[in-house]
Structures are given as C-alpha cells and as structure tokens.
C-alpha cells in the first residue's frame, strides 16, 4: 500500500491501481484519504463533514467508471476532496492562492466535468452533457453525485421533472446523509425515494442491525433513517416516473456493496438513480457527532471572529425581542449568516427554506404582504439565484423586505464561484430598491433600523470576516454619507466596509490631503453632497467590479445631469477571481490600500 498511498505522485498510477485493488487495500486507501483531507481542511479550512462522508462513494465510482472518458459531476462540490486526491491533486495548498480549489473546476482538472460551487445545477448540466453525447454519437456515461439537500433545489427539481424520458447512460448517485447544511425539513427528503419492495427494506434493515451499533452516531442516524424508509414503502415510484430507474438504498460506506452495485449499473442502458445512504462526517468523531458545526470550517477550525455575521445575529435578536413582526428568512445558511442565536431564541420566527433561494425570497415577499417585517439573510453569491424574485415579487410590489447580504465583495478562499461581486451592478438598477453598505458593525445596526423605517425594499451588503470598528458619528438619518477624514484635495468616495478602511489607510499612506467619505448609501446616492463636490477631483473606491458598481453610479450622477466632473473610478476588472485570501485577491485586482495610495499620490502630483 505504501506506493499506492503516494498521493503526490501523479494521478494515473493511483487511479489505475484503484481498478485492481483488493477490498482491504481499498479500505486502507479510504482511511488514508480521510486522514489526508482532514489534514488539508485543518490547515486551510474548507468543507469537512460532507467530504468525509463521500470517500467510499468516490472510490467506488473511480473503481467502476472510466473517468475522464466517462464524466463525473458533483452537486455541490464540497464533497469532492477525495476525488481531487485520487485524481492527483495536492490538497496541502487547498483553497489558498495557487493551490487547489475547494470545489470542482474543469479549469483545474479534466477529471472535473463541470463547475460545482452552487447547488442544484448538476442534473441539468448532466442532461446537457448527455444530449451533446447523443447528438454527437458518443458513448460515455455521465455520472452525477448529488446530495439530498441539493435535490430540493428548484433547478435540480426542474431537471428531475423535466422529462419522463431521461437519456441512457445517465447515473445519478443520491448521496443521502439525511440532512441539508443545517437540517432538512423538506418534504422531498421524506418523499422522493422509494424502496422497490418490502423485502429489500427488510434485508437492508437486518444488514444495518448486524453492522452498526445503535449507540454510534451512525446508529442514531440509522434509527432516523429507518423511520424515513418506512415512509417510502408504499410504492412511491417518484424517480421512476421521472425516467430514472431507482436502485437502493445501499450503504454508502460499504465499498464491496458499492462496487458491486455500480458495476451492474454501468452495464445498464437506462438512466438510473442510485440511492446511497452515508454518514456526514464519517470517520472523524467530532464531525460525526456534530456534522452541522463541521460542515464548513475556517482555517484551524477557528471560532467566528468579530464579524458582520455575528453582529447581525445579535442585532436581529435584539430587534426581534422588541418587534413581534420581525421574522428571519434564510436558505440553508442559518449559521453562516449569523442566525444561530436567533434560531434558538425565536424558532417560530426563523424560516430556513433549504437550498431554495427563490422560494425564500418570494415567501418573504408574501410575509411582507401579510403584514410581517421579514429580514432575508443570504450570501451575496446565493442572492443572485433569486434575482428575478427580488425584482418581480419584492420590488415591483414595493414590499418592506430587508435583505441582509453577507459575503459581499471578495470572499477569499471559497473562490470564484462564491464571489460577491455582482450584487451592486445587478441590484442598483432594480426599481424601488434601496442599497446600503455599512462601514462597520455599528453602522450595520444604524442602517438596519433606517432601512426598516423606510418600509420599502432594501439591501444591506457587507463582507465576511473580521470587521473593525471605524468610528464615525453621523447617523444615516442626518446625512446620507459621512466624511471620515477631512482634506482639501482629492475626495475619496469609498463604498463598503473594506473599501472605507482601505481608503483611510491609503490617504495616510499617500500623504495627500484627501477627504475620505463613507458612502454608505449606494441607492440613493447623496446627491446633495455630490452636487457640492462637482468641481473637485473625485476618486471612487469599492471592493467590486468597476463595471456597473458604485463608481459607475457616481459617474452616472454627473453624466445624467450634463455636469463635466473629474471622476476617477477605482474598482476591480471584470474577471473571475480565484481562491486566495481576500487581501491577496484585492492586491491581485489592484484594489488594495497600496494601489489606491499610489493613485492618490499620482493624482495629487498631477493637480
């Protein structure tokens, strides 16, 4: 095995060995993969529990199928680390600049058949791949590994339901660990699968009883699972009606069973859904006991720092205590957006829609129409999945829904699929919508209250990570923008927490006599102040794409009025931004404090 376990030594040898390994060798390899990915996540952060749970599935798939000739898709990609290891990728630099991405990416490896940062896309993509294969007369298999939570996403359901005739050679592996990122309240989980016959269930049940102690985490899980399985026994042929032959459930940690079943599936001509039951966090005790906590972990498993997420959670609890109409809505990111305490204190007023951003937003619109005061908490990258619902259901009806948008701007190690660079350009043009960006957590509270007093659609956007308090004294009701640093020369209009902090730093670094303004309202702009600034040299600064963002709004302001102003937009070029720290990303994009300082120095010499 020592040779086999040389993970750094190119992919072909290891992948070839997997094809002929003995069962014991495969088990040893599984154990090795677990240790390796655990170390990688411990060093660099990333998704742990779901990756631990998918090790045997991935090994068995590589044993049976011939990737990359056959195509392997993940939904979502946070279960793909073992696949990355097997296909020769070094996880020691996982999620860091120049290292391996935390998600599958065809640009990284030909073994990644499709991008997979956002849930729900895999079956649609696989159907596209199958249609292309069939029209081109090719013959490979297309394999999708989809988690049970992802399957509840609207796009996944669209693809499942889309046609009662599915292309042949499509294999959907349902990696069913019985939970979404937080918890799975979905009817789908209890509805979609079936067991072909009672006999099958009995066999499996007896097999489970023999294999796992009821006191283990897996045992506890299985009790829940068995309960669920019983619900499926009444001939629910959900998947078969959708053109997928249902096979399962199988134990997703039994390599022998998996290899056997997948081998048979490979010979089938019809489209298949294989239902594999796995344990999230399998093989790492802490993760197995509390997989929700270990879904995604920061580097070194650090606890949350002083952040907007925590501040929002605290704020929501305070305001909810005062105002019974306040409800919180999210989409499978309760912990991530800071709602854990709210969930404990106000369980009846927290609505977690699962990975269903569209449903979450429209439900919130309905709640607002019905007299409640909903606060929708989503990451910027996932908010873009409900763009139409924001426009059509919330804003055209001018409903008082407040969006608290976390992870806006650069997100760091999650990389290009998770960047929050598009919310400003997209949302700025939506009728009736106000868009705010606080400079720090204190201002988040200020804007939160201000937005709710407006009784209108509003977005408050802020970045992830550590958020220092920047001071400042002017409540947003008194003036829209506030000057944080006086200066007679260039006026820096900075938008968003990181940009404001960097602008202050850049002003100091440059030594120029700059005025720094905290532009905390993007819609509306502080038109009164902009009018007064018309004769000055203005530099706009934001952590976002220069195209269509805040700086664009300032340039527009003058151009719509025919005022010939001296506006310099500083923002990021419109390119995909790969994983690195947010600071490294800012540097690479030319929007660090140093970059701004250089521009300020140049401009002040020019003047």
């Amino acid at each position: 095995m020592s040779e086999t376990l040389d993970m750094q030594g190119g992919n072909a040898p290891l992948l070839q060995q997997v094809k002929t390994m003995t069962p014991r060798q495969m088990e040893a390899l599984a154990a090795h993969l677990r240790v390796t990915l655990l170390d990688a996540v411990r060093s660099n952060g990333g998704h742990l529990a779901s990756n631990l749970g998918a090790v045997e599935l991935i090994l068995a798939l590589h044993r049976v199928f011939d990737f990359p000739h056959d195509k392997l898709l993940f939904d979502v990609g946070h279960q793909s680390y073992a696949h990355k290891l097997l296909t020769g990728r070094d996880l020691s630099e996982l999620r860091t600049a120049g290292g391996i991405s935390g998600f599958p990416d065809p640009a990284e490896s030909e073994y990644d058949a499709f991008i997979a940062g956002h849930s729900g896309n895999s079956i649609a993509a696989a159907l596209g791949l199958c249609h292309a294969r069939d029209l081109r007369g090719e013959g490979h298999k297309v394999v999708v590994v989809v988690g049970d939570a992802s399957l509840g996403n609207g796009e996944a359901l669209e693809a499942v339901f889309a046609s009662e005739k599915k292309p042949k050679g499509l294999v959907v592996v349902l990696n069913d660990n019985g939970m979404a990122i937080s918890k799975n309240q979905s009817a789908l989980y209890r509805s979609v699968a079936k067991i072909s016959a009672k006999q099958r269930y009995r066999n499996f049940n007896s097999f489970l009883g023999k294999t796992f102690k009821e006191t283990s985490a897996f045992g506890r899980h299985l009790r829940k699972f068995k309960y669920t399985v019983k619900g499926w026994l009444n001939k629910n042929d959900f998947f078969e009606r959708c053109g997928l032959k249902y096979i399962g459930p199988v134990n997703g940690h039994d390599l022998h069973e998996l290899v056997g079943v997948l081998g048979n599936i490979r010979k089938l001509d019809t489209a298949v859904l294989l239902h594999a039951v796995t344990v999230k966090g399998k093989g790492y005790e802490a993760a197995e006991e509390d997989p929700a906590r270990f879904h995604g972990v920061a580097r070194n498993f650090g606890e949350g720092e002083h952040s907007f997420s925590l501040a929002l959670g605290k704020l929501l609890c305070e305001r909810a205590a005062q105002d019974e109409s306040l409800v919180a809505v999210t989409a499978a990111m309760t912990d991530g957006v800071g709602l854990s305490a709210f969930a404990e204190q106000f369980p009846a007023r927290l609505f977690d829609a699962g990975i269903c951003e569209e449903y979450a937003v429209t439900m919130a619109a309905g709640m607002a129409k019905g007299g409640l005061s909903p606060v929708v908490c989503l990451y910027s990258t996932f908010l873009q999945r409900a763009f139409d619902q924001i426009v059509h259901d919330v804003c055209l009806q001018d409903l008082p829904v407040l969006f608290c948008v976390d992870r806006a701007g650069l997100v760091g190690s999650d990389g290009k699929t998770h960047q929050g660079m598009l919310d400003l350009p997209a949302l700025r043009a939506v009728p009736n919508l106000r868009v705010f960006a606080p400079k720090d957590c204190a201002e988040l509270a200020d804007l939160f209250d201000y937005a709710r007093r407006l009784r209108a659609p509003a977005v408050i956007r802020y970045p992830n990570g550590y958020a220092p308090n920047l001071g400042g004294t002017v409540p947003v009701g008194e003036s829209l923008w506030e000057t944080l640093r006086e200066g007679a020369g260039i006026v820096v209009l900075a938008c968003g927490a990181r940009a404001v902090a960097r602008a202050i730093e850049a002003a100091k670094l440059s030594g120029a006599d700059c005025r720094v303004v905290n532009c905390r309202t993007v819609v509306p702009l502080d038109e009164e102040l902009l009018g007064r600034l018309a004769g000055r040299t203005i530099v706009t600064f934001e952590e976002g794409y220069a195209r269509g963002g805040f700086g664009s709004a300032v340039a527009e302001f003058y151009a719509e009025r025919g005022i010939r102003a001296d506006v310099r937009i500083v923002g990021a070029p419109v390119v995909p931004v790969p994983h690195a720290t947010a600071a490294e990303q800012a540097q690479a994009l030319g929007i660090s404090a140093r970059d701004l300082a250089r521009i300020l120095t140049e401009l002040s010499h020019r003047a």
Copy 2:
C-alpha cells in the same frame, strides 16, 4: 340577469350576487364573462385560451370564498381576466395606457393578493401569506390557482417540497389543462397528481363519457387525460407527502361540482390541493382547437410582423442546416422567440425546457461543455430568472453559449412584470460575457455569426415588435461600432435597435450637426473610437434604465482612465413601467426621439 351582467357597475353588487345566484344564472354569467373577455382580447391583445379555460373555476372560487378577506393568487396571471371582470374592472382598455393590466396586480385592486407576471411564485407567496396570517393570529384562507405548466417551475417545486407540514387554510387549485404554453413534456405532469382510489377514477371516467363527445376538442383532450390518469392510479401520493391533501380530479367547467367541492374544502382545516381539469380555450372554437396559437394574441389577432423574432427563427434554420452542432434551447416560449420553423425542421435539436429557465441555461452549458453550440432563446424578463446559471454555469466556465434575448427594453402592453430593462445592468458585469445589441435584423445575423466565431459566452439582445432595416455597411468584424450619420458637433452613441432609429430621427428633428453612432457592442465597448471621441460632446442614448446601462458603461470608460470627458447619459429613470404601447412608454420615460432631439438642440446651443 341583465342587472347581474352590468360589469361596469362597481364590484360589490356583482360579487354579492354571485353568492346567491342560481346555477343557471351562474352559467349565463360564465358565458357573458367569456364573451366580454374575448372582445377585450380581440381589441387589445392579451392571453385568450388560458383565460377562457378558467372562467368557471374563478366563478366558483368567488362564490365560495370571501375575497379580499380571503386571499386569491394566480400563477401565472394570464388566467385572471374573469376574476378581473368579476371584481369590477373594465377590460375595454385592457393592457393599454391607463387601462387594466394583463396580469394581477395588488396596485390595481385589493382583490389581487399578489403580483403574478412570472410563473412559479404563487405557492411560495401563499406560504408567506399563511405564515404571516398565523403569526398575526388571523384566520382567512389563502387560495392559489396554479396551472399545470407553472407547477413544473423550480420555484413552485421548491415551495411544494419545502415542508411536509403545510399551513392550514391553504388551498392550491391545480388548473390542469394538460399543456404548458407550447406543450408539456414534463414528467411532472404525469407524475405529480394521483387519484385517491380507483373508484374515484371510474366514476370520473364514466362521468366524462356521459358528458363529452369524443369527437369534440374536449373529448380528444380527455382521451389523453384518461391515459394520464391511469398512470396515476398506483397510489402516487405525491402531494400528500408534501403536506397537501389531494382532492380530485374535478371537472373544472362544472360549476355545480366546483362549488360543491370548494364549499367542502373551505370547511377543511388542512392544506388542500384541488385538481381541476380544464380545457384551454374553452368556449371559443378556434382557441379550443389550437390553444397554442391562441395562448397570447396580438391586438386584433394580427400575424407576426417583420420582427427580430422572425429573423432569428429564419437565421437559426439557415445556420442549423450548415452546422450540425447548433442546437436551440428555450423555456416554454418556442413560438414567442421565433422558433416555430426550427421546431418543425430540427425537432431533435430543439430543447424546450418548459417554464424552467434555470434548467434551460444550465442544460445549455452542459451541451456546450459536451461539444455542441447551443443558442438559448429567451425573453429578457425571463432571462433574469437564470442570472445565477448564466454567471456560474456558463460564464465562469467560459462556455460558448449564445443567448438570443428577445423583448429587451420596453415591452409595451405586457407591462411592468415583463419589461426587459434589467439585462444590460445585470449582464454587463458578468465575467467572460460579451453583450451585443443589433440595430436591425440584418445586423442580428452579422452579430450572431460574429458571436459564434468567438466561441465564448455572448448575449444578443433586441426588442419585440416591428424592426425596420436601418441600412449601414460595416460588418462588426471590421469595426465594433459604426457611424450611421456623420456630423461635426455632438456625437450620439446609440445602443439598440429602437435607440438607433430614434437617434437618427432626433438628429434630423433637432437640425443639429450630430454624428450618430450605432453602438452594437456593449461589452466590449469600442475603446478605440471612445478614445478618439474624448474631446467631443457625447450623448449616450438607450431604451433602458440610465442606471448601470450602456451610458453608464461609456461614462465608466472615461472615469476608469481618469479622462475628463463630456458625457451626457440619456436613459430611463429607474421606475416600474406600466402597460402602454412601447412608444407611449418611451415618451412617458423621456426617451422618445423628440426628447432626445430637445436635448440635442439644447446642447448644440450651449456649445
């Protein structure tokens, strides 16, 4: 009945009379509603077939429930005309400026509980309304009328599956006319419903046989329906697992049965799905025979004029004949985007995803990944439903998917839910995406070929309606933009077919010595030309929101480079744009040719 049929005389009296009408009076009222809405559609265009099919359902709902105390939602709203008539709205000015909207709108009537221009939102909105009601301790019912095609939309499925416990007092009426806008290939249609017992089916079957002749359109429909029903008989308890008590199917044109069943449902405490079978186009022979053609009709049932849609369809057929890799993808708008001929000539290469824009776009991405050359044809307003898929699945992977975006800009009589005003701001900032806007149909072909040669993600956007040929001679490969009118004074940078046509007109009207440039590429801009124009007075002109659009891109160009240019942006203010003709809308927004001429005159006097 004569009093009853005074539709213009306020709503309360008629709605009150519905509560106590005899069966014969109700039938007469149904007939009257049909005639009235037929006249309205004949005069002003709109949706015909679905409205004709929903008359009895709507009458029965108003008979049984107490709206607006109870809440009534439609999904989508194009079946709501009878509801509008019953609630006192005068359809004689349907879809025209100042008249009644073609879709439900709470701003129009308190009887419209939620906006409903885009499919799939109703159940999510209704759940939000129910949660609000329950948290506020209110007791009304929330009733949703949802078409079978809408139910296949991802957001609708998310809401159906979201929880196995649905709020009480929720009534979902599945208006099942057995077809989507074009045709329903969905597995859902054959999968979702069930009949509680064979007995029920037999009764219904026998009832059908007695009631309808097999030779009628309804009879033909029923043969198909019965086939489907048989498929449901094996205890598919789809809806019940999702927390909805299934009742049905009922004949959706039998007022007696509907009133009886709905009366019982009203007394139930649980959430219910009522499965009503209706005939699209019911009561109007031509529509009943060919409902697809009559789904939406232009004013006076006019045939399609010389339009981008027709030009695209022709172009696709030509290119598909030369290139086997070309496939077309749409989402339940095959006819609308001009694909009817393509569907006939290349049926195996047309992929209609149903009302599933997300699935359509990701499937296209999969096709591109698999070596095909997909062209995705959608309306602008529906493209925004797949914003995340465009970003995540197409553009981050830099896949050669070409989006042909119809109904971009002002859409006229469909009104505020259907405006194509957001694609430019939203798409302009997406990495790797090119965005084009042809001035006429000839240039559509030019840009189409140009975009496909790029082998990269691209959008070509164009408006609906009549598209005159504007001439011009410079292929896009030779230069990005082209000057259509020379002039030494102001430079008008016009973007999009209508804007270019109006700019030429405005230049003539103003008498100013204007140069008019056709800016057919929004991403990338013609940077070389912009560089040369830096010293000139520039007016940008577009049929879109001024915020984040084309003009914004021009202002950005100079502001990113620190060039102090004289740019005047002329575009629409960011407000919802209600139904009227597109010309009236342009006038109301200050972006008509006359408006531009006035600005040009002012500016040339200033200079």
